[in-house]
């Protein structure tokens, strides 16, 4: 690649009159892209194009998210007052269960991999599609079938076991639609397995010439690690749920101690999947953050290999810590000690990422566009969520706050403050690529701020509530501790703001499809391969298979940039301040 090309690629946004290298040439079927290549319902529901399947996922999981959000709204409204007045306790049990099941199995697990991952991985590695396009479509249908079972069970009367399905309550005592919901999760699990399988094979075998492992974007590394967890963990969840349902139907003791079964075995098997599942939800978000932070700092990511391998380390260590959910069960103390120690250890690769992102920001030429605001929000909130996770890995403290709102606040900082913010950031970042339209930047920044404020107001009070002893999963709480109600009211107020902050992007993103200004192939002047094709991309992604000759984040050093009106050769930053010389 010549010096001129590099300059063009690395030119910052809003430089007028730049001839872009990767725009489709005029003779290459102008205007043909994956969106206008066929319009009938069949062209969508039977599509094998990973980009269209990504859009199908985007629409479905947005609906699931809205539904899960409505349930969350009911939880927050109920907790405004100490009495269980809006919802009866039995109803409340169903509401929080359904909130959890929808959010975990139908939103968070598929969220980033199935939408952005599906759409972007082939583009990022220069492939025409995922390795198995039909299996990709099948996995979307499996998610929908799973959702039909799970949501159908909810319509008929719901489940009240909590999303964790602890036995023997779920297998013997609960009088709700546990089996149907279990089938739904079982089927949706296979969607996740097939997605992971597809990604692994694609990343191994479909990379474009020159796209070596260490030239891949960190987004792809993160998805590779995620896929490992999907294929290794999810089958265990499937068999666990099957055994639970089997016990429920046949009334044979597998997990019910009254019949000779072992309820702790259920928890072991369940958390063997469900702790790593946290990383299924989080790792892809970390991949997004790596992309956004380097693009909007105009800098190569600091410690590329450390960030890449820390994803793999998280996937591996993540399988060895499940016992930290069981400190208060009959698990042996020695097992508890080991689990506690490894849980501390798993914080190390996460911290490596946070340090490397911070180092990437250092002396970067930072612009505060919407994706960057979300990424910075992630950085703060994930750090808080991760640190409280280290608290909870300490057995003594965990026994004290076990099953309280402290735990609820902790994992919402990870799942909402981490995954959801990353997902929104990524959605904004790649929105122009996906639909060829820009969203209104002002509204974008505004909503990112609203979400950040609303999120913190919702969940920070929950740390305090939990520390004061407010248990999770209760519809009522004591009147004579005034702090409880004050904090709950703050949390509900925050949830209202958060909800509003989420509706704003929904409106302007949909509006942008029609009214947004047309996006260039590379509106952010980023380096990834996905930006080297048109927005929206043609069905076959690239008109010619790209040949990769550059590393993932080759942004020119700031002093080499030909930025008109910003720097001149005379006022380059003083290099001595970098090295301390």
């Amino acid at each position: 690649m010549s010096a001129i090309d590099r300059t063009a690629r690395d030119m910052p946004p809003a430089t007028p009159g730049v001839k872009r290298i990767a725009e489709p040439r005029a003779d290459e079927r102008p205007g043909s892209n994956y969106l206008n290549n066929g319009y009938g319902w069949k062209s969508w529901l039977l599509t094998k194009d990973h980009k269209r399947i990504g859009i199908l996922y985007l629409i479905s999981i947005s609906l699931f998210f809205a539904l899960g959000g409505i349930y969350a709204g009911f939880i927050r409204l109920e907790l405004l007052t100490p009495q269980s007045d809006l919802l009866q306790p039995a109803t409340y049990n169903k509401v929080f269960t359904q909130h959890g099941i929808i959010m975990v199995f139908l939103f968070l697990v598929p969220s980033i991999p199935a939408t952005l991952g599906n759409f972007l991985i082939p583009l990022m590695i220069g492939a025409k599609d995922l390795a198995f396009p039909r299996i990709n479509l099948l996995s979307w249908y499996l998610l929908i079938i799973g959702a039909v079972f799970a949501l159908g069970a909810m319509m008929y009367g719901g489940v009240d076991t909590g999303w964790t399905f602890y036995t023997p309550f779920s297998s013997t005592y609960s009088n709700t639609y546990v089996t149907a919901t279990g089938i739904g999760i079982f089927v949706a699990g296979f969607s996740s397995i097939l997605t992971g399988l597809n990604f692994i094979v694609t990343i191994h075998t479909m990379r474009a010439p020159g796209m070596t492992w260490f030239r891949m974007p960190l987004f792809v590394w993160a998805h590779y690690a995620t896929s490992l967890i999907m294929i290794l963990g999810t089958p265990v969840l499937a068999i666990t749920i099957s055994l639970m349902a089997f016990e429920r139907v046949t009334r044979v003791g597998i997990f019910d101690p009254a019949l000779g079964g072992d309820p702790i075995l259920f928890q072991h098997l369940f958390w063997f999947y469900s702790h790593p599942a946290v990383y299924i939800m989080l790792l892809p978000g970390m991949g997004i953050i790596s992309e956004i932070i380097s693009t909007f700092s105009r800098k190569n990511i600091f410690g590329y290999k450390f960030v890449a391998f820390s994803s793999i380390a998280i996937a591996v260590f993540g399988f060895l810590v499940w016992g930290h959910h069981m400190f208060t069960t009959g698990q042996s103390v020695y097992a508890g000690l080991v689990f506690s120690f490894i849980s501390y250890a798993v914080a190390v690769p996460s911290a490596i990422k946070v340090f490397n992102w911070s180092a990437t920001l250092f002396r970067g030429s930072i612009s505060y566009d919407t994706p960057m605001l979300y990424a910075l929000g992630f950085l703060g909130l994930f750090t808080l969520g991760g640190m409280t996770g280290v608290f909870l890995a300490a057995i003594g403290l965990d026994v004290h706050v076990h099953d309280t709102y402290f735990v609820v606040a902790h994992f919402h900082y990870i799942m909402v403050g981490g995954t959801l913010l990353a997902y929104l950031g990524g959605l904004h970042y790649w929105w122009p690529k996906m639909f060829g339209r820009m969203y209104p930047e002002g509204w974008g920044r505004f909503s990112a701020l609203v979400v950040f404020v609303g999120f913190n107001l919702t969940f920070f009070p929950q740390f305090l509530l939990g520390y004061l002893g407010m248990p999770r999963r209760y519809a009522a709480y004591p009147v004579d501790i005034p702090a409880f109600q004050v904090l709950h009211i703050l949390s509900t107020a925050g949830a209202t703001i958060l909800g509003a902050g989420l509706v704003i992007p929904l409106i302007y993103l949909i509006w942008s499809l029609i009214g947004g200004p047309k996006a260039a192939g590379d509106p952010w002047m980023a380096t990834g391969l996905e930006w080297r094709t048109a927005s929206p991309p043609p069905t076959e992604n690239f008109h010619e298979t790209p040949v990769v000759t550059w590393n993932a984040y080759e942004y020119a050093p700031q002093e080499d940039m030909e930025v008109i009106g910003k720097t001149s050769p005379d006022d380059k930053p003083d290099r001595s301040s970098y090295s301390g010389a």
Partner: protein, 261 residues
């Protein structure tokens, strides 16, 4: 580069033939071989890449299968450690002759499957079809024997959830005579049968899927779809078939042999 340009001109035509077929099982290629064009799918650059991808895909799938059976093996281990006597007694109730015959049948079927893969690689259509057929027959024989065995157990009310759950009283009498102690708690014996039916049932389901896949291979193999250049469907089904056999090699001693000493 020249070949790539050629590929892209073929996209519309190839794409259409693909759209007319549905997959019967998870191997993405079987049906492609029917077209006049070689089985290369449009998103792959060449057959070699396609072969690499599908082979890795099958291995990855088998890894998920190991984890899937792994949950059951875990349950087996835990409950056998908790109830060693009940598990040994329950194991004696199983009819070893059926298990042993089935082990032999499956090992034989692995041999015929390996032969089928070999003949697909050297392009011998007749023997390929013959050995695929033989493998199907052996697989079906396995399922038939398994069905006889299940029906014997059901006749004695030896299945989880039976009211009341019982085992063949001859075995109970023999056990008590030989060991000089009462037959273990029937509920714990029942737990063995939860795992027995769970494992052998899921195994049998895998056999059924394998036999259906072999049926497709036989059909397309008969029509001459496989050649020394393109035979990965046969090879991948072979991998799957051997995997299912290996699972049985673990199940047989763990289920049938633990009580016989």
């Amino acid at each position: 580069m020249a070949t790539r340009v050629e590929d892209s001109t073929l996209i519309p035509a190839v794409h259409d033939t693909h759209a007319n077929h549905r997959v019967a099982h998870h191997d993405p290629h079987t049906e492609d071989a029917s077209g006049h064009h070689p089985a290369l799918q449009h998103h792959f650059d060449n057959l070699e890449q396609q072969r690499d991808a599908t082979t890795l895909g099958m291995w990855t799938f088998l890894v998920t299968e190991i984890m899937f059976f792994g949950g059951l093996f875990m349950a087996y281990t835990v409950y056998r450690v908790f109830n060693p006597e009940a598990f040994e007694a329950a194991s004696r109730v199983l009819e070893i002759k059926y298990g042993a015959i089935n082990t032999a049948v499956l090992i034989a079927s692995s041999l015929t499957m390996a032969m089928a893969v070999y003949f697909s690689q050297i392009g011998n259509r007749k023997l390929l079809v013959a050995f695929l057929g033989l493998t199907m027959i052996l697989g079906t024989a396995f399922l038939g024997i398994k069905a006889i065995e299940y029906s014997h157990k059901f006749a004695h009310n030896t299945y989880p959830g039976a009211v009341p759950f019982e085992v063949d009283h001859h075995v109970v009498e023999e056990y008590e005579r030989e060991k000089g102690r009462p037959f273990p708690d029937i509920n714990r014996v029942q737990m063995f049968y939860v795992i027995y039916y769970g494992m052998t049932g899921i195994h049998a389901l895998h056999m059924v899927i394998g036999i259906i896949a072999l049926g497709f291979l036989t059909f397309y193999g008969y029509r001459g779809a496989y050649s020394p250049e393109y035979n990965s469907p046969v090879e991948l089904t072979g991998l799957y078939w051997h995997f299912v056999d290996i699972v049985w090699i673990f199940l047989f001693p763990l289920l049938y042999l633990i009580g016989r000493h």
